[in-house]
Symmetry: C2
Subunit: 488 residues, 2 copies
């Protein structure tokens, strides 16, 4: 093994951090709670960004950029919003340093205190809706469909690489509409875009649903969510889309002149996914040897390893394969490092999750074959050199599908309907995953369930059916089942 | 005219701001000195980013992401660096807000004071070199060729959209090398990459040179720069690349084990361009009707306007042209808005700088022609429908070249060699542009020249020749001419 990784069975959390660090995805920084995203990790994030950006543009959105800073007073304008974010704000109070009069180094210059403190954006609804007031005056200005790629800061006390960091990267869509129906349709559309991306590119199956009132975004009337399941049976909220009603239009006085020649408040949505998705990607697929990447997001899809080391004959074959794969748009690396042995390289590329490895050795070449190893199942086979590029292309598709269906099988086996409180607790403790249970609709019950089991309501599935029943906790009447789980 | 723009002759500064705002590039925000980059402006920036990113990757660089925050003590570790940036730092001192005990709204929670203040990065050398200490241990880890796309904050007192804002977007390359020669070669290479981009994509000619000691980046041993000339005769520094020597390696204790089995300090470079380039793009080419965009960076390269409005016949022809142009990778918009007249649309698309406009009217169609208008020269002509896509493709290339050569002619006419102090001042006041003059090599003289004329030394051109002479200001001996100009 190139680098030792804790096994999942031994310590799942440590396994996760080992993979993130040792595969070169990210590392802690000198700043509490902030991470450094390393080149290999960033290359994966760039592939995610490129695909999401394409999907946003195909659905009519444009990118823009709004300030990092939010005046403190803006946050207070929407009551629930400030309640939700005030406790985790990084606050800028001064704009200058000066030499320390009592020693070396620099100190804050007390004369450079800001009149009004600035908050580093934890999310941008307030600064954006303050701007929209200038941009929107007539129904002709609507819908306004804007997205921003940005860094945001939420001062979390307990952080974990990618899953919860003080600073993270994300995109935030902020749209403005003339009607309620249109805004709801937008927030639902973006949930489907997220689900499409997470399932078809990240190969992670999701449950689409709505959050209960207590789990909504601060300031939203309705929050849609996609919930994924990790290999330890814990859920991970992977993307949310909010119908904000007219709350921000009211707070920032954003109205438009309708076709009816009257002034109306504007309807809003916002939606976001973040570098948290990197955590979901790692935890959904990887194994004790390292990262397992879906081919569609792998920065290197194929690696070619000369056995035991490069020579003229092997170089010639390898370079020809590189050309053929590149012509198909497949990213490939020929590992010509002569200082490492094949076994070491195999482990290294497995750790990095490269989907397909081709081994080229003298004996195989004499037979006109190469060794093909797939990362997901670890299967190896000999394949004829002739037509190898087509074979690899198909194999990459197979791997993408296989990773998804493996995760889907696991997920489907871990949605367990329960009808009693005993069962509820037992399933959580023994099997994990989502528990599908009747709930009386009250925040009080959710709270107690959380206190007693650490499980939270994940969502009311969009495809759930109305079904009269009895709350698994309170015994009161329920209108349908919702999903609970322990979650990241 | 759709929207009134101040003419250049009337007020060049106001003309610039009018174009930036009215063409929909950017606007001021509610936060002092911070701008909102609007969708059309951001689309241009995205095209710049995509091309630069490609060029960085082609020269072997990888992207990564480092924290927004820099611990205050890090800044102090490199003496010149802190001197250069301390006076314009946004400082985070607290991490929580609380309800105002004396009223409504929120206030900073005094109990949430940070132990050490955090600076919003004005540039990232310090946090990055602190990280490189962990990443570099052997010559095998070098060179380390990293770039980051990020927002940075420098608390400028006098701001102007794109040219000087408190927050701006940029890329910063930070590379680490085993030898001095390699680091110098890297900083020169990146200067050439920048010049290539600015000249061949932005169509703005530049002078490549080195900064004098007083104009160097804080912490650099040598700063390379590309200097462009705006239409008002003022220079604009458009990109810089720094040879940092071992200053940051010393400050952050970054050493590597060499092939000689000894520890050595690492050599460094950094280089950056920013949204300032958007300002250069606007000021280099635009005219009193609005923006003039080089085709390679125009979000919309061709607009088709139906005359006087869409109908079945015109739609059919327009859609066919759209398909043909798209097949060539040309971005095109068919303006089917029925609420505006052609004349209004013409002005609107001129304001937005779309390089080519096609007018399709009934009478022209009867003759089998369309009207082609080019934005740069405002020339119009009738062109046969047959083969129109090829014609437009060639025309876009012509426009790209014409915009560049126009700017080049202007620039070349505005590099004026002068040999006396009287001439120096007169050229600056009457003609503007770069003044090429002998200088005695002292900071004192630069300072006096600046005080008396507001002109600063722009660069020592890379292609300048050694030539003994007399300093235009002090009369002392000089080794060669350097360029001075009034600058943004």
């Amino acid at each position: 093994m190139a680098k030792e990784i804790t096994s999942r069975s031994e310590d799942y959390s440590k396994w996760y951090i080992d993979i993130v660090k040792k595969a070169g995805l990210a590392d802690n920084s000198a700043v509490r709670g902030c991470m450094v995203i390393k080149p290999y990790g960033f290359a994966i994030w760039e592939k995610m960004q490129a695909q999401l950006d394409k999907m946003f543009k195909e659905t009519g959105h444009q990118n823009a950029y709004f300030p990092l800073f939010i005046p403190k007073s803006f946050l207070s304008k929407e009551a629930e919003h400030v309640e939700g974010f005030a406790k985790e704000c990084a606050v800028v109070t001064h704009h200058r340093l000066m030499n320390d009069p009592n020693g070396t180094g620099v100190v804050v210059d007390p004369s450079a205190k800001l009149e009004e403190e600035l908050i580093i954006r934890p999310t941008s609804e307030t600064i954006i809706w303050n701007t929209y007031r200038e941009w929107i005056s007539s129904y002709r200005d609507l819908p306004l469909l804007i997205n921003q790629w940005a860094n945001v800061v939420r001062w979390e006390m307990r952080t974990r690489l990618f899953l919860r960091t003080a600073e993270f990267l994300w995109q935030e869509g902020h749209t403005a509409h003339a009607t309620k129906e249109e805004a709801i349709a937008e927030s639902e559309q973006m949930l489907h875009v997220y689900a499409d991306f997470v399932e078809n590119f990240m190969a992670v199956p999701v449950v689409k649903g709505r959050k209960t009132a207590s789990e909504r975004f601060a300031g939203a009337l309705d929050t849609y969510t996609i919930e994924a399941l990790m290999q330890d049976g814990k859920a991970l909220q992977s993307g949310t889309s909010h119908f904000l009603g007219q709350n921000f239009a009211k707070a920032f006085d954003v109205t438009f002149l309708g076709k009816d020649n009257k002034q109306h408040l504007v309807w809003a949505t916002s939606w976001g996914v973040s570098t948290r998705l990197m955590g979901a990607l790692v935890m959904a697929h990887s194994d004790d040897e390292g990262l397992v990447l879906p081919p569609k997001l792998a920065p290197i899809q194929v690696v070619i390893v000369p056995i035991p080391k490069p020579n003229e004959e092997i170089d010639k074959v390898a370079n020809a394969i590189v050309e053929q794969l590149k012509a198909k748009g497949i990213s490939v690396k020929y590992d010509q490092d002569t200082t490492k042995r094949p076994g070491f390289k195999f482990a290294e590329w497995e750790l990095k999750g490269v989907p397909v490895r081709l081994g080229i050795g003298k004996r195989d070449l004499a037979k006109g074959v190469v060794e093909v190893a797939r990362r997901d199942t670890k299967e190896k086979s000999s394949q004829p050199l002739d037509g190898i590029a087509d074979y690899v292309e198909n194999l990459l598709n197979d791997i993408q599908e296989n990773i998804y269906s493996k995760a889907l099988t696991y997920r489907d086996e871990h949605i367990t309907p329960v009808d009693t409180w005993e069962e509820f607790k037992e399933v959580l403790d023994t099997k994990g995953g989502f528990v599908s249970a009747h709930w009386d609709g009250t925040e009080e019950t959710e709270k107690k369930i959380k206190e007693e089991t650490k499980a939270t309501s994940r969502c009311i599935p969009l495809d759930g059916k109305e079904e009269a029943g009895t709350c698994v906790y309170s015994g009161k009447p329920s209108k349908g089942r919702i999903l609970f789980a322990r979650a990241y």
